[in-house]
């Protein structure tokens, strides 16, 4: 029996089964089309002893940004579809494409770059690719990030929004496991990676927790670090305000309208209740209430961040 959305639940693919199969499938398609693809986070973190194994809702794969269209085309031909492209403002931009398939219970998060590596995306990818390791998934070879790259990716992921309580605790666990996992040689290699990818300053809190000292040597750390700092510390709604300030007055009405109400597919994909039956007006009304209700917290967050002493 093939898995199908209409199949009895007992015969549907579970997430535990889907994860290794999806790794094998995405890697196979990449190899078939001559595209370099690396698994990040997920099983590589567990493999390197940086996180306990767990069942995720998606797999995260990184590819060279130039290969985006070719790979999305290959995945589309294999029955996957791109989830609604979000138009929500983000200071650090959108770094991934979310691919879905009705026959699979998990998604594929296709990363074009990883925020926090401040060097150009292609340069970062080449460095991570050069360091890649191979792990078996569902009986097939799949490329994943090495120990240093995995540690940096995990730390940057949590540091991107450390103000979220769940990320704060996950970061603390990563530090704890890193203490046990990283010896002097591994720490030295981590510094080498960070310098090559322009992530010494973004990784500052992680390095500090591990008693690592390193100098930022990549020029991108000078030009891009402020944007990283703002993007990783500001409240998510701040991005709308940052963008608003860049607009001409006659652009304000359309911008505000879109900010509050969002296109329907985006509203349902990212801000709804995962149902297709809830009326759109209800979702939009709930968003307006959410946005207005968060204004005081956003302002407080912004003021606290602006007045916080910087190192």
């Amino acid at each position: 029996m093939t898995t199908s959305p209409s199949a009895p639940e007992s015969m549907r693919l579970t997430s535990a089964e889907a994860l290794p199969l999806a790794y094998a499938l995405t890697a196979h398609l990449a190899a078939e089309h001559g595209i370099r693809l690396i698994g990040i986070k997920g099983v590589s973190l567990a493999h390197h002893g940086l996180r306990d194994p767990r069942i995720s809702a998606d797999i995260d794969m990184l590819l060279h940004p130039d290969d985006r269209d070719a790979y999305v085309t290959a995945m589309t031909a294999a029955g996957w579809r791109v989830a609604a492209e979000p138009t929500t403002q983000k200071i650090l931009g959108f770094h991934s494409v979310n691919l879905l398939n009705d026959h699979w219970p998990i998604g594929v998060d296709l990363h074009l770059y990883f925020p926090g590596f401040l060097a150009p995306a292609g340069e970062v990818f080449d460095e991570l690719w050069r360091r890649r390791i191979t792990l078996q998934q569902a009986g097939h070879d799949v490329f994943f990030t090495d120990l240093s790259s995995s540690a940096a990716v995990a730390a940057l992921h949590y540091l991107r929004s450390l103000w979220r309580p769940e990320n704060e605790s996950a970061f603390a666990r990563l530090v704890e496991k890193s203490h046990a996992r990283l010896g002097d040689d591994e720490k030295a290699d981590l510094v080498t990676l960070a310098q090559a990818t322009g992530s010494v300053r973004p990784l500052g809190p992680y390095f500090e927790a591990l008693c690592i000292t390193a100098a930022a040597t990549h020029p991108a750390e000078e030009t891009e670090f402020d944007r990283w700092t703002l993007g990783s510390h500001a409240h998510p709604y701040t991005a709308w305000w940052v963008r608003f300030r860049q607009l001409k007055p006659w652009e304000w009405p359309a911008f505000l309208w879109r900010a509050l109400f969002l296109p329907e597919d985006e509203m349902r994909a990212y801000h709804g209740d995962q149902s297709t039956t809830t009326p759109l007006w209800k979702l939009r009304w709930e968003r307006v209430v959410r946005v207005l209700g968060s204004v005081p917290a956003t302002v407080r967050h912004e003021l606290a961040w602006r007045t916080k002493p910087r190192r």
Binding site: M1, T2, T3, S4, S6, A7, S10, M11, R12, L13, T14, A16, E17, A18, P20, L21, A24, L25, H28, L29, A77, A78, G79, H103, W104, Q137, A138, G139, H140
Partner: protein, 121 residues
């Protein structure tokens, strides 16, 4: 529901003799992941939905090891279900042939080697 009904090419047809083996492009999770069943994807046909093999289908799939031919797979399945090999052979053979037609199994080039214990390989 999507199904795979027809052979894709003559290359997927089983040969007359030889042991059964998984096709090189098969990706699979075993019964340890979800109790007693296999989830299988043919990477050479990536648009085909993953296939779940449970119950008797899982027994047949699990008996394929690159060494057993049809008789040996039937013997293995029969032992598990408590029937004689002759009672299950037709069903087992049809199922193996259907998996072969779908490109999930193939026969090894050489006939199966006899096992050291003298049992059919």
């Amino acid at each position: 529901m999507s199904t795979i009904d027809t052979p894709r090419s003559p290359a997927h047809q089983p040969r007359e003799a030889g042991a059964w083996a998984y096709s090189p492009d098969v990706a699979q999770t075993g019964p340890a992941d979800v109790d007693g069943r296999y989830a299988v994807v043919d990477l050479s046909a990536p648009a085909t939905p993953p296939r779940i093999l449970a119950g008797p289908a899982a027994l047949v799939w699990g008996a394929v090891d690159g060494l057993r031919d049809t008789d040996a797979v039937a013997a293995e399945v029969a032992e598990v279900v408590g029937l004689s090999p002759a009672e299950v052979r037709t069903d087992v053979e049809q199922f193996l042939d259907s998996l072969s037609a779908e490109g999930l199994l193939h026969r090894t080039a050489a006939p199966a080697e006899p096992r050291p214990d003298g049992a059919p390989a």
